[in-house]
Amino acid sequence: MALLELRKVTKLYQAEGAPVLALHDISLEIESGEFVALVGRSGCGKSTLLNLCGGMDFPTSGELLLDGQITTRLNDAELTRLRREKVGFVFQSFQLLHTLTAVENVELPLLLGRRKQARSTALERLRWVEMADYANRLPHQLSGGQQQRVAIARALVHDPRLLLADEPTGNLDTATGEIVQNLLYLTAREFGVAVVIATHGAESVAIADRVVHLRDGRMVQAKVPQAAGQLG
């Protein structure tokens, strides 16, 4: 069974009274350990799709199954638990809490889930992203790339089955972007986590197991790139 399954998912928004079709009839299956790149122009529905996949939003029609659970049948508390246990998010603008140190940011999902050994697990993840030496620094004392690495550690700290990354390299220079992208790729490979990355970058497309093209809310293409499997 696929880790994530979208069945004829459609999403309509109301904008100033008029309906806006954000996603239309999307069907997709993503397996554990798969690295999927979502591509398309701004406003094509990439972020909406990620939010639906992460249980942050509900489709207007269709069904979305995450690890066998149909998200539309879950209430807010059950969805929260699902996210807390099975989903990790990485954002374009890092979204670290400025009042917390790097390690405190990383351990936050564990604390929210009342999990034990939060600090040691957080430090372990920081080591994995090579940020252990910066554990006690506040976000504004870190560079953009460092902040995003901390954000990836945070997204992985609770051992999610699915990692959703929305333009994770969008605010980074090319070299730093590559480091972050490799980290995400390794996440899929080393931990068997399904990674879905919304991106404009050709590099991500090149290394992805699968590329999903979106245009005006419709899936126009889903293919395996030639370069897949060459990295790692």
């Binding site: 972020s47 939010n51 992460g54 942050m56 939003d57 807010d76 508390a77 929260t80 638990r81 996210r83 807390r84 246990e85 989903v87 998010f89 954002f91 603008s93 979204q95 809490l97 400025h98 009042t99 917390l100 405190e104 936050l108 999902p109 604390l111 929210l112 889930g113 009342r114 504004h140 945070r154 609770h158």
Partner: protein
């Protein structure tokens, strides 16, 4: 529309309208602050503003008034009318009566109806009196021909209403007064042959002093001639300290409001740093930035002050009753007048609101103007500024603390504790300056403990409070100030209450107390029938009766009470405690042996009298010198007592009737049986018999009623602070919506978001309560030992009213946490996707 107005509308007004609840809360905070000041001012004016005693009702257009301690012999009037000048003398009896012995004591005035009927301007009566005729004010709701029983002293008298008094120009008129012919009034008040005062109209030409000296020459020195209104002036002087202190208390809510304005503008500045940077880059000057924020503050001030004036008018209705109670209990019988919202009060309220708001907004507005455009986007600068300031703040806090300590030791200025109040201000300022450091230290030390106890939500709340230490500190300071004032006044009143209770234990040793029925006041001393004391004393089971007689007098231009008691009874009963270092036995042994007196502590402080000094009292035709033997503790009235031995008093004022009696039982006597015997002796007279415990309970009830106004003022200050906290938490939710949205992405539940906000409110409340309690205790020391002593002259023993404080602080804490409920609801209702995408 001018350029400035366009900018104001777009950059200031629009964001304010965009956050209507927060804007309303800030306006409400200012409005409440202004309203309290207005309410106390208006209520003070109405309850005691005219400062005339009810007894000055219907004094007409007289120029001088003749009075004497214990009254004026009416024979003197015969001599006065012989003077070869066209004086117009109006003799008066001034007493109190209650209708059917119930309700408040009403002024009962006896005037010479015949002369009133002749004097065209003074015609208050349309027809001459029948034997039992009275004329009543409109407010009494009586009608001509109606029969009423009036309780005067301890005796009910039947009267018939002959007419309704109409208020007329030029008279100090009360619409709840009762007027009778002077002869009748003398009889029913047991003042036959006596007058309470003689109003005098002088002929045209010649100074008032000239006419006064002519009349004075005709009178014995114990009778004084003073300009009409002298008693009003005396009352005004007596009430100055009371009104002054009440006025200062009323400003607390406004000070708390100032903190909140400061906070609101500071939040505005922090939020708009980027905007300020952009505007500065576009060419707006620093002055314009500062003016913009001052204009924002002005908006709050104008809206708040205008609302505050009207709210104040409404609040005055409640305040006037509370202040009236206090004035009545402690000072003078007066009936509250109408509440008048004068242009002066309106202008004062609005000016105060604006001044406070502008002053409060000055610092953040100036800081905003200093933001360099390039740094506008930089995070963390604000915290750096706060950190850099912290050492300076500690220095200034320490300096102000020392100044407060020094100022609290300074003497009063014209009997006003001016320096003590400045010390209070410095103490509050010192604490406010120290609060950022206290908050930071608390956040550092308590971080892990709170996290362990309350989980990650508390940790996040703590971090947020620490990160926004500037904002947190202002809110903590606002609430801490309100809590401190509440705690300090609570401790002061609690200490006073405990002191009064202990004093009553010392003072009230008799088994029963008798006084004429009807309401009591510190300037009313109705008498019991002269035969009653003897009759009670002869009852089986009664060991002794102490006859106490009191007269209202004027001493050095201030109202006071002259009294006489039976020293031997006081001595035997071990009542009456003297100031430390004074020999009670020696004082009481010497008191009956000549012209000696003891005085109460407020009298001694007010008139700077010490044991060994001599006071002059105009009695029985001459100025009598009394040597002060001692000063005793007394908490019954601020007017102050001069107490002589009863025999000495009778020597000069030979009226044997007592104002009240203290009855001591023989050992083993059955109190119930004696009580029944006393009731039989009283017969048809209206006498209130109180057991010892009932009298104490009654006294404590009066005490509690007296201080209700202070509790009301504190409550408003706390409400202002809590309203401010609600507004600030709302702002916090809006500012931190990204954080809350992110937490939802990271698996945070709605309940956890709610808990974070309630934790922040709770930590704020905890800090403010703790700091407020410490500051309040320090302030209470100044209130008890300096301000009270300098204003009222009472010695109060320090006492912690533990339960009262616990209840009050718990109430404040709960209110603070509840203030977080709405912001928490807002936070949980935000759409996290929208918020994250805004970024």
């Amino acid at each position: 529309m001018s350029f400035a107005l366009v900018l104001f509308r777009r950059l200031i007004l629009r964001p304010l309208i965009g956050e209507p609840i927060r804007t309303t809360l800030t306006v409400l905070a200012v409005a409440l602050g202004v309203a309290v000041v207005i309410a106390i001012d208006l209520a003070g004016q109405a309850a005691a503003g005219s400062f005339h005693s009810s007894l000055e009702s219907l004094t007409g257009k007289s120029d001088l008034v003749i009075t004497g301690a214990g009254g004026v012999d009416e024979k003197l009037l015969g001599g006065l009318v012989q003077l070869p000048y066209a004086f117009d003398f109006s003799p008066r009896i001034e007493d109190f009566a209650s209708i059917n012995g119930k309700g408040e004591a009403l002024p009962f005035i006896g005037v010479d109806l015949v002369s009133h009927a002749k004097a065209e301007e003074h015609t208050i009566i349309d027809q001459l009196a029948a034997a039992d005729s009275i004329w009543v004010g409109q407010a009494l709701n009586l009608h001509p021909g109606q029969s009423v029983d009036l309780l005067i002293n301890d005796t009910p008298h039947p009267f018939t209403v002959a007419g309704i008094l109409k208020p007329r120009r030029g008279e100090i008129s009360e619409d709840n007064v009762i007027v009778a012919d002077i002869g009748l009034a003398q009889t029913v008040t047991r003042k036959t042959g006596k007058l309470d005062s003689i109003d005098v109209r002088v002929p045209p030409g010649g100074s008032l002093e000239y006419w006064r000296s002519i009349i004075q020459k005709q009178l014995p020195v114990s009778v004084s001639v003073d300009p009409q209104g002298s008693r009003t002036n005396e009352n005004r002087k007596m009430l100055t300290a009371f009104r002054w202190n009440l006025g200062v208390l009323s400003y607390i809510a406004l000070i708390v409001g100032a903190f909140l304005i400061y906070n609101t503008i500071s939040i505005s500045v922090v939020r708009r740093r980027t905007e300020i940077g952009i505007l500065r880059a576009l060419g707006i000057t620093r002055a314009m930035v500062a003016k913009g924020f001052l204009a924002e503050s002005l908006f709050f001030a104008m809206a708040g002050s205008v609302c505050g004036v009207f709210m104040g008018r409404l609040m005055a209705l409640g305040a006037v009753r509370l202040i009236g109670n206090t004035v009545q209990s402690l000072y003078v019988s007066s009936h509250p007048g109408p509440i008048a919202l004068t242009p002066r009060a309106v202008i004062t309220g609005i000016t105060l609101g604006i001044a406070v708001a502008i002053l409060a907004a000055l610092a953040p507005a100036l800081e905003a103007s200093q933001v360099p455009p390039v740094e506008a986007m930089a995070r963390g600068r604000e915290q750096y500024v706060v950190a850099a300031r912290s050492k300076r703040a500690i220095f200034w806090a320490a300096l102000m603390f020392i100044l407060a300590a020094v100022l609290s030791q300074m003497p009063p200025v014209n009997r006003q504790p001016v320096f003590a109040y400045i010390a209070v201000f410095f103490l509050i300022a010192a604490t406010s300056l120290a609060i950022p450091n206290i908050v930071a230290a608390f956040a550092t030390m308590a971080n892990r403990i709170i996290e362990k106890l309350m989980g990650v939500e508390a940790l996040l709340a703590m971090r947020s409070l620490r990160a926004s230490v500037a904002r947190t500190s202002v809110l903590t300071a606002a609430l801490a100030t309100a809590v401190a004032m509440m705690a300090s006044v609570g401790i002061m009143v609690g200490s006073f209450r405990e002191t009064v209770w202990l004093w009553m234990n010392d003072q009230l040793k008799a088994d029963f107390y008798l006084r004429p029925a009807g309401s009591s006041a510190s300037d009313r001393h109705p008498t019991l029938g002269a035969d009653l004391a003897g009759a009670v004393e002869r009852l089986p089971g009664v060991a002794a009766v102490d006859r106490f007689r009191a007269y209202p007098i004027s001493y050095q231009g201030m109202p006071a009470t002259l009294a006489g008691g039976e020293t031997s009874r006081i001595q035997n009963s071990a009542s009456t405690r003297f100031l430390p270092g004074e020999n009670r036995e020696a004082i009481l042994s010497k008191l009956p042996t000549g012209d000696y007196a003891v005085v109460s502590e407020p009298f001694a402080n007010k008139h700077n009298v010490r044991p060994g000094s001599t006071i002059d009292l105009p009695l029985a035709g001459a100025i009598r010198k009394f040597k002060i033997l001692g000063i005793y503790y007394d908490y019954s009235t601020e007017r102050g007592f001069v107490v002589l031995d009863r025999r000495t008093l009778l020597k000069y004022l030979p009226d044997p009737a007592a104002s009240n009696l203290a009855v001591y039982l023989k050992p083993g006597a059955d109190p119930n049986a004696v009580r029944s015997s006393i009731d039989r002796v009283i017969g048809g007279r209206a006498v209130m018999v109180s057991s010892n415990s009932r009298l104490r309970r009654g006294a404590i009830e009066v005490f509690d009623r007296t201080f209700r106004i202070t509790y009301a003022l504190e409550a408003v200050a706390v409400i202002v602070a809590v309203v401010g906290i609600a507004g600030a938490l709302l702002a916090m939710v809006i500012d931190r919506r990204r954080e809350f949205a992110l937490l939802r992405f990271l698996g945070g539940a709605q309940s956890q978001i709610r808990k974070i906000i309630l934790c922040e409110a709770g930590i704020l409340g905890l800090l403010a309560n703790a700091i407020g309690l410490v500051l309040g205790t320090l302030l209470s020391l100044i209130l008890i030992f300096v301000i009270n002593k300098q204003s009222f002259g009472w010695t109060i023993q320090f006492h912690w009213p533990f339960l009262v404080l616990l209840a009050a602080l718990t109430g404040v804490y709960l209110a603070t946490v509840l203030a977080g409920l709405y912001p928490a609801r807002m936070a949980t209702r935000m759409n996290p996707i929208e918020v994250i995408h805004e970024e």
